[in-house]
Symmetry: C2
Subunit: 461 residues, 2 copies
């Protein structure tokens, strides 16, 4: 123990010789807040040190140091991840990108040059100042950083029409495990030269390299939205409506809340949601000008024909915003019922009804409360399993439900994570999902780029 | 020589023991048509044999055989590639996927399961039969196969709004160099589990594996288009209009032809194009219903304000089709002037004007005719360099112009290939484009997946 801590002291002195005191954190009380992300993993380790990088060079030095000493590195954005991708490991270097906030918009080329610490909403605001739009909108957009968004290929609400983060990443500056810096892709809208390394790094959760700059595609500003809110008496009526809406229209949002979620939000807001509804859909169209109203009427009609008990349509953005906020509030609202295990399973659209029904059956079988919210238009659901951490039996049943839901999704041809990433939380299910051959292929690529295995070990692959 | 041919005979006998006579081609006269793609590389080698695979198992057997004997394999789709990605190598196995034509549409999940030999237009037709749409539309859509489209991440005319082939690939069945079969991705619209192998295989030109099935995303059918055709007195007026249109609107097509191309098409069609114009833009909007007319008016206005000498607008699809056909005819029309070196350089939108001007200057300096057509909305240009192959001096100047254009594109932060792929034709420029570190990274990945280097050696990376 004495030897270990002497060794740690030696390593920390070496780091202190390179990094300014403000960049390097070694005090245990200050290190504490860098040990976990929002997965709140109780098994989080204690880092050797935290480096709050301010430049690509700071990241390079950290990786050279880590390679030299064989020390694991855990990259970290805003710490808003839900899968434990940024959970610290004992003796690791945490490389925090929170201070790298550079941001420049080239409005003619329609791209933004963005450092990883920039918050998603800050980029949206910068694009809007030039009459442009950065579409990706994870629910965490006000607290999650572009670095983390890129690392997880973050989705969100509008991605059913506009795609996920990766669809906007044209180029990346990446520090490899060795400390070498590469620039892949660039501010070109089309490029067929060489392997698509940009897309390989997107969603790789820091196991292939650390991104220190992204070149992101911007698009013309979004047109005003129209909104339909519909309550359904049964789950199947709601998921059938989802399939029909997706077949006939191009909604810019198609969100789903089940009865548990509706009631939790109603408890919190008292906004007058129908507590008896089995499910609520919030659907938006951003087709321009009058077409939006045409699409809105089509959507409203599908809901009506599909048996909705109430259909509310508005072109008023503020009026609509209340329902979007209600949907965004679902997680904190359900959190008031107890601790949560937050799922992120996704299935082919044709299996959405079966998945939603199956989750309800699992809640019954395990006698736990599960609220289900979903980015329904792309088949990506978030069952929120409520449990009392002080009640061991209840916690066990919640974990069993978590496992059951993942198995159900797999049996329906679904994924164990639609948008949050594998992190450390879902790693145990990865082989079952990918199959041993594809999982091995992931590791072959990981090993090719990080032969010493220092980059975020235990996460993603 | 005798020994070599005996060895070849021995290998061919081994293949004949496995493959039906109809699948295996070894006769030199029948092999001939599998030696080249549309790059028409005069250095094309003579294959040991051609396997016209009918199943994943046929491809597996070919790769196992090739691995066992250390024989290079050149995969081949419809042979419509323009970069020599399917140019045969002496003694190689050509694995042709032309016979794998399986195609099934799941209209609820909104995906198509497509074997590589299916022609792009066949997939479009199958989707349309279900009221759905497969957007990617390379100019070759009536002759190029999905396998080739996936291998090159093919672009086209509508990709400025709807993205390239890769944006529609949800999953792939791939035979690896070893003969092992993996299924990556699947019919899920969102998936954050594991590395994005699907995107890595897309555009990899057969150097990482051979695709035997693709799961492709379909979208609701396209709305009727409105069209604007505008003639400009100067190149810069036209490219400035392109930038402004892309900033303010979301066109579904924005095509460019310069004076040489206009005149070649007019010679061929006599349709009444303005021969004195420096450039012609063909711009379409597919915004739904009346919004399309709003967008059309905005586009027409931008052209007018931008100095267009003539602006023609129509909502009549047939009337518009004449101009789209004119644009598609540009390559065959210019081909009537002589042999062509076909470029595919792309630049950031902000550099489009400089590139277009620079190509004109190169034509002057090298005293060669260059027609320039472009998918202008994403900065992807196709300078067509005309030369007389019987005139050595002229051919040399054409090759010099080809090189000059690539260097110009590089100096403007552009790519050496926007959508055709590197193949063998552009391989010599790849290091200059990627830089040695990124090029090496390409090779690290290639070697990790194909350690014996049997998959399409000499192409892509």
């Amino acid at each position: 123990m004495g030897r270990v801590s002497t060794e740690a002291e030696h390593l920390r002195r070496e780091l202190a010789a390179y990094y300014a005191a403000d960049v390097l954190i070694v005090d245990q009380d200050r290190v504490e807040k860098y040990r976990r992300d929002r997965a709140e993993d109780p098994r989080a380790g204690v880092p050797l040190a935290v480096i709050r990088a301010e430049s690509t060079e700071h990241v390079q030095a950290a990786l050279r140091f880590a390679t030299l000493h064989g020390i694991p590195v855990v990259p970290r954005g805003a710490g808003s991840g839900l899968s434990g991708g940024a959970t610290a490991i004992d003796g690791c270097l945490v490389v925090s990108l929170e201070r790298m906030k550079g941001l420049a918009v080239d409005k003619v080329a329609r791209v933004a040059y963005v450092e990883p610490g920039v918050i998603n909403s800050e980029l949206k605001a910068a694009a809007a100042a030039h009459g442009l739009w950065y579409p990706p909108d994870p629910s965490s957009f006000e607290i999650s950083s572009i670095g983390g968004n890129v690392a997880t290929n973050a989705g969100g609400l509008c991605c059913l029409k506009y795609g996920t983060t990766g669809d906007y990443v044209l180029g990346l500056t990446v520090v490899l495990a060795s400390g070498a810096v590469v620039e892949v892709g660039g501010p070109r809208l089309k490029d067929a030269a060489g392997l698509n390394l940009t897309r390989l790094f997107v969603g790789s959760e820091g196991v292939l390299g650390i991104v220190t700059r992204a070149i992101l595609r911007l698009v013309p500003r979004q047109d005003p939205v129209t909104t339909v809110v519909a309550s359904f008496p049964t789950l199947i009526a709601a998921t059938d409506a989802v399939a029909e809406i997706m077949k006939q229209t191009r909604p810019s949002m198609l969100e789903f809340m089940d009865r548990v979620a509706i009631n939790a939000v109603e408890d919190m807001t008292g906004m007058g949601l129908d507590r008896t509804a089995a499910a609520l859909l919030v659907i938006q169209s951003d087709e321009p000008a009058s077409s939006s109203s045409v699409e809105q009427r089509t959507i409203a009609n599908i809901c009506q024909v599909g048996g909705a008990t109430e259909v509310f349509a508005t072109t008023d953005a503020e009026e609509a915003e209340a329902f979007v906020v209600a949907r965004r509030l679902a997680v904190p609202a359900v959190e008031r019922l107890g601790s949560l295990l937050l799922e992120d399973v996704g299935v082919p659209l044709s299996a959405l009804g079966t998945l939603v029904d199956g989750v309800a059956a699992i809640a019954d079988a395990q006698a736990v409360t599960i609220a289900l919210i979903a980015h329904a238009g792309d088949g990506n659901t978030h069952p929120l399993i409520v449990f009392d951490p002080a009640d061991n039996d209840c916690a066990d049943r919640a974990r069993q439900a978590f496992d059951d839901i993942m198995r159900l999704a797999l049996s329906l041809g679904g994924t164990i994570t639609g948008e949050h990433g594998v992190g450390r939380l879902k790693q145990p299910w990865l082989t079952a999902y990918l199959g041993p051959e594809v999982h091995e292929l992931n590791r072959v690529l990981k090993n090719a780029l990080d032969p010493r295995g220092i980059l975020n070990p235990g996460a993603a692959v």
